[in-house]
């Protein structure tokens, strides 16, 4: 695939077939720090059975390195070297980012809230005094990370681009699957990063300390503001 092909690809909306394996290449040009350097990411979307052989296991290993080893989260269900939990089900949808060496460098998990999901089951207190969502049109975003592992490092600009591109793919994937909004929770700094991309983000309620660190639940509206921020125009039906 040539650069012009990739550039052309960027002009068109990402078409996600919710029920089939999907893969897309994204070209980045970094102007700061690595002037002239080009990095290419591949975004993979699918359920467990739709991912290529080995991707699910690779994803579990990547998540273990990020969430257990790097962040030190106490995830009782995680096995040594592989992080999975009760929300990794056959109907769970994954968005995975791979670098040019075909290594995973980012991931996200999407779950419609009309089935059990992480926030509703484990962290319902983050909703404050509001009712937990339970709708096929509201999806939960969890296990979102673009943390590099195995000693890899990236500039702040590169990390922001990867974060943004994964978030864009998440929003387009969820929208294509029928979601109108996402609910998620994170450290307050991550919420700020998402908001600074220009997408439509607003809090559910006040932050609360989880393991001594402030965590907040927030909405991501899959509306015109959000898709304009990504320069994406998925299809008709986007709310204004």
């Amino acid at each position: 695939m040539t650069q012009s092909d990739l550039s052309a690809d960027r002009r068109f909306p990402l078409t996600v077939n919710f029920y089939s394996y999907h893969q897309r290449h994204v070209l980045f040009q970094y102007g700061h720090g690595k002037q002239g350097a080009v990095d290419m990411l591949t975004i993979v979307v699918g359920k467990q059975e739709q991912l290529q052989v080995g991707v699910e296991a690779e994803l579990a290993a990547y998540r273990y390195k990020v969430f257990v080893e790097h962040l030190g989260w106490d995830l009782p269900i995680a096995q040594i070297g592989a992080e999975r939990d009760q929300f990794d089900r056959p109907d769970t949808l994954y968005v995975v980012v791979k670098d040019r060496a075909d290594r995973i460098c980012g991931c996200a998990r999407l779950l419609p809230t009309d089935e059990p999901y992480l926030l509703g089951t484990v962290f319902p207190h983050l909703m404050g005094n509001q009712t937990l969502p339970a709708s096929a049109e509201i999806w939960e975003l969890s296990r979102y990370t673009t943390q590099l592992v195995d000693g890899e490092i990236a500039s702040r600009e590169e990390a922001a681009e990867r974060f943004r591109e994964l978030l864009r793919a998440v929003c387009e994937t969820a929208f294509a699957g029928g979601a109108k909004r996402l609910i998620t929770f994170s450290y307050v700094g991550v919420e700020r990063i998402a908001r600074n991309f220009g997408i439509h983000v607003h809090r559910v309620g006040p932050s609360q300390l989880v393991d001594g660190r402030p965590v907040v639940a927030f909405w991501i509206e899959l509306d015109e503001q959000t898709f304009n921020a990504f320069d994406a125009h998925p299809q008709d039906g986007v709310a204004h």
Binding site: L71, H202, G205, P206, F218
Partner: protein, 147 residues
């Protein structure tokens, strides 16, 4: 969304709208007291601001909550200190909240206008006096991950 029939009629109680926003007028918001106030330092934010050429000696987040009504109104923002002897300044990046300001006719003012008014509100109060006094944490928020 609720509507307000006239400027002189009693304002309805605050409530969550279908999409989670608390819709209220700016005067209603200004009448809140925000008795719960959290301030945390964040070294990753400090480094980010330094990358943006801001002389951040220290940086962090404020999170204020008013739960004296039937809803929990919350607002958060990032701050930084340029030097040891200076006071906190508002960091770029706007506000994080669950409020949407509305006109007297009950029409949404929009995200941008709401942020503009929140900045106006914050400029009118001595929020720096509360930073670090109520419930102080020292979280190091250095990751870009969600749960």
């Amino acid at each position: 969304m609720y509507s307000i029939p006239s400027p002189h009629s009693p304002l309805p109680p605050l409530e969550y709208s279908d999409n989670g926003y608390i819709r209220l007028t700016y005067p209603q918001f200004c009448a809140l007291h925000f008795p719960k106030r959290l301030s945390v330092e964040d070294d990753d934010l400090r480094r980010e601001l330094i990358d943006q050429a801001l002389p951040a000696f220290c940086a962090g987040y404020c999170d204020w909550v008013d739960d004296t009504t039937s809803v929990q109104v919350c607002i958060g923002w990032a701050w930084f200190i340029a030097g040891e002897s200076t006071t906190q300044q508002l960091a770029p990046g706007g506000f994080s909240s669950n409020v949407m300001f509305i006109s007297l006719e009950g029409v949404d003012l929009g995200v941008a206008k709401t942020n503009e008014l929140l900045e106006n509100w914050l400029a009118g109060i001595s929020w720096q006096a509360f930073t670090g006094f109520d419930e102080v944490g020292n979280a190091k928020l250095s990751v870009h991950s969600l749960h």
